[in-house]
């Protein structure tokens, strides 16, 4: 199976024509529906639907509270390595950028983990650039085994792997995958990825599916908003999530909406996404996929995160750091992107509580821990 032939049914020209011809009554009809189909989701992403944002927001809020309660799961990213062989025009770790690159030793991982675990967080997301020599699957697996001493959920956001490699990482303690397609537009993708293994669009597109097949509990996907016209990539992201959820019902499929931020390279997003469009994306996705998690990263400002929080968000990063060794080393390198929300975990928890939300530090435990305990 592959999402590729499925997504090809949606011709970009037809979709553009559809979006431009949506009428207010079309939006009203969708808002009255119990269950949305993909084209209903696209209707909600149309320019006309911006006039209905308040209605969408109210419905999204009500659906989210019913399904997830007044809780937000907190996690934090940990960068293991910024070595990368890819040249992606928009990325701060682009191989052509002159950076002092580094990789955490296993002892460094312990030190970083100890710092993070003092915040009480139990969910961690580990990241690497793409370099099979500097951050091999074996190295990632060793890091995972160290991190399993501190955290009950370990997610990876690393370069695409083979199914058997995911199986191995699952066995070592990884339970979730995050992987962004960046853009679903094949020709734009080709232009943005100048060289490196990441240039292979199809291999990346099929990665979430390989992770599902490998027994990953949760898979999180997304597009880097700002690269393509807003409604195109948000629609394809939702369609991809919908496809995965239908084909892998046992996996928790969730979506992120990372919006482009400034970074070390001089890349300006061609299609900057406005706050209003972010609200449209989050609320439309919630209405389309009522039970999917939606993640908001620290690329967004604290104020914006606070405001969009009740509209469908279920998971947020806190105490973030996009530098390798940024928490425990004084000579940490440049980050992949600048974070806009610099709140610590404690500050985030206080702010969430003030807004009537419970910060959740743990909602998963690997079964191996259970077996050891009995």
């Amino acid at each position: 199976m592959s999402f590729y032939p499925y997504m090809k049914q949606y011709d970009p020209k037809d979709m553009e024509s559809f979006v431009q011809n949506v009428k207010p009554d079309d939006v009203r009809r969708v808002l009255a529906k119990h269950r949305l189909e993909p084209m209903d989701y696209l209707t909600l992403l149309s320019p006309v639907a911006t006039a209905f944002l308040e209605d969408m927001a109210r419905k999204a809020h009500e659906m989210t509270v019913r399904q997830f309660g007044k809780t937000i799961l907190l996690y934090t990213p940990m960068y293991l390595s910024d070595h990368c062989v890819n040249q992606c025009r928009y990325c701060g770790f682009n191989a052509s950028i002159s950076l002092s690159r580094s990789r955490l030793s296993l002892d460094d991982v312990d030190r970083e983990a100890a710092v993070v675990s003092r915040t009480g967080l139990k969910h961690i997301l580990i990241l690497t650039g793409e370099s099979r020599s500097k951050s091999s699957p074996e190295y990632i697996g060793e890091c995972v085994q160290r991190l399993a001493r501190y955290f009950t959920s370990i997610a990876i956001e690393v370069y695409p792997l083979e199914t058997f490699e995911y199986v191995d990482l699952v066995n070592k303690g990884v339970d979730a995958l995050t992987l962004y397609q960046e853009t679903y537009d094949e020709s734009l993708y080709d232009t943005l990825h100048i060289s490196g293994p990441k240039k292979n669009y199809l291999y990346r597109l099929n990665t979430p599916e390989r992770a599902c097949q490998a027994g990953m509990r949760a898979v999180n996907i997304g597009a880097l908003l700002g690269l393509d016209i807003f409604h195109r990539d948000t629609f394809m992201t939702g369609l991809h999530a919908w496809y995965l959820q239908r084909n892998y019902p046992e996996v928790d499929i969730s979506v992120s909406f990372p919006r482009m931020r400034p970074h070390a390279g001089a890349f300006s997003p061609e299609h900057p996404v406005a706050d209003k469009e972010m609200v449209q994306a989050v609320t439309a996705l919630r209405l389309f996929m009522p039970r999917s998690g939606i993640t908001l990263s620290t690329r967004e400002t604290a104020e914006f995160r606070n405001n969009i929080l009740p509209l469908g968000i279920t998971k947020m990063s806190a105490g973030s750091c996009t530098q390798v060794g940024g928490r425990s080393k004084s000579d940490a390198a440049t980050g992949q992107f600048d974070i806009s929300d610099e709140r610590s975990v404690e500050e985030m928890a206080i702010d969430l509580a003030a807004r009537g939300y419970q910060p959740v530090y743990k909602d998963w435990e690997p079964l191996s821990v259970f077996d050891e305990a009995v």
Binding site: R66, T71, A353, K362, L367, V374
Partner: protein
């Protein structure tokens, strides 16, 4: 390993209600027929008040979500000593996973009650009846008091009876949906046909729906989302406590005779007089 050390055998205090309608289950005598949960609250600190105001004596908790390391913020710390813990196997996708979670719950000192949830569908969160029955059989043999959560399916319920379940927990509508007793007719069949207590779990959105389930003859209701997502969870908890009591009283009283239509003043069989 002992993580739930607080939940020793304790005498349940009688709530200020009738003591002549005792719900005996799993070796305990309950005076409240409302079970509740710990999920989705804006703050776990609300839980003690929810329990006091609702009168609930049983609370379910997802073991996988309990952070036993947390010194300050552990949901277990908000559960009063006298309340019976009903650990659940939320997160289990197979019978084997459910069994492993249940064993840890007992090893951790959370008692021998276990609510089996085996869910392998992330879209609708509907339970897997086959895997649930398998887990029930294994755990009942190991001495657990097993509360399996199922679709209201008579054949699955019968297999649970044979597997040694202590109750059957059919859903009223999909979990977290607050859509009420959409499976009313199927639940009615379980109440009529199954000898075990039927505890309606999931989907109850309003106190009136809990009341209806109790009027139908359900032994108890488990309500979480409708309380935790309410504007005022504590007041809603009280409303659910009262609704469950009212429904139970109505069931015990026996419903009055209901005529669908007015009686004709000149009945067709009047000539028989």
């Amino acid at each position: 390993m002992r993580l739930c050390g607080l939940w020793e055998e304790v005498e349940l205090p009688m709530m200020n209600q009738e003591h002549d309608d005792i719900f005996e289950i799993g070796g305990k005598k309950l005076t409240s027929r409302l079970f509740t949960g710990t999920g989705k609250y804006s703050s776990d600190a609300l839980i003690p008040d929810v329990l006091v105001k609702s009168g609930a004596q049983v609370i379910t908790v997802a073991l996988r979500r309990v952070d036993f390391d947390a010194d300050t913020d552990n949901v277990m710390k908000h559960i009063p000593k006298h309340v019976i813990l009903l650990p659940n196997t939320s997160g289990a996708r197979t019978a084997d996973e459910a069994v492993r979670i249940a064993r840890l719950a007992r090893a951790a000192g959370c008692g021998n009650w276990i609510k089996i949830e085996v869910i392998s569908d992330s879209t609708y969160l509907l339970p897997d009846g086959y895997e649930t029955a398998k887990a029930t059989e294994i755990l009942a043999k190991e001495g657990f008091v097993v509360f399996p959560y199922i679709n209201p399916d008579l054949m699955v319920a019968r297999s649970l009876v044979n597997a040694g379940a202590s109750a059957v927990m059919p859903l009223g509508s999909p979990i977290g949906s607050n859509r009420g007793l959409r499976t009313r007719e199927m639940i009615r069949i379980l109440i009529d046909e199954i000898s075990l207590p039927i505890i309606v779990d999931a989907g109850i959105g309003r106190p009136s729906q809990a009341c209806e389930a109790m009027e139908m003859g359900a032994a108890a209701c488990l309500v979480n989302t409708a309380i935790s997502s309410a504007g005022d969870p504590v007041t809603m908890a009280m409303a659910f406590g009262e609704a469950v009591k009212a429904g139970r009283r109505a069931y015990l009283a026996g419903p009055g005779v209901v005529n669908e239509k007015a009686s004709a003043s000149s009945p067709l069989t009047g000539f028989l007089k």
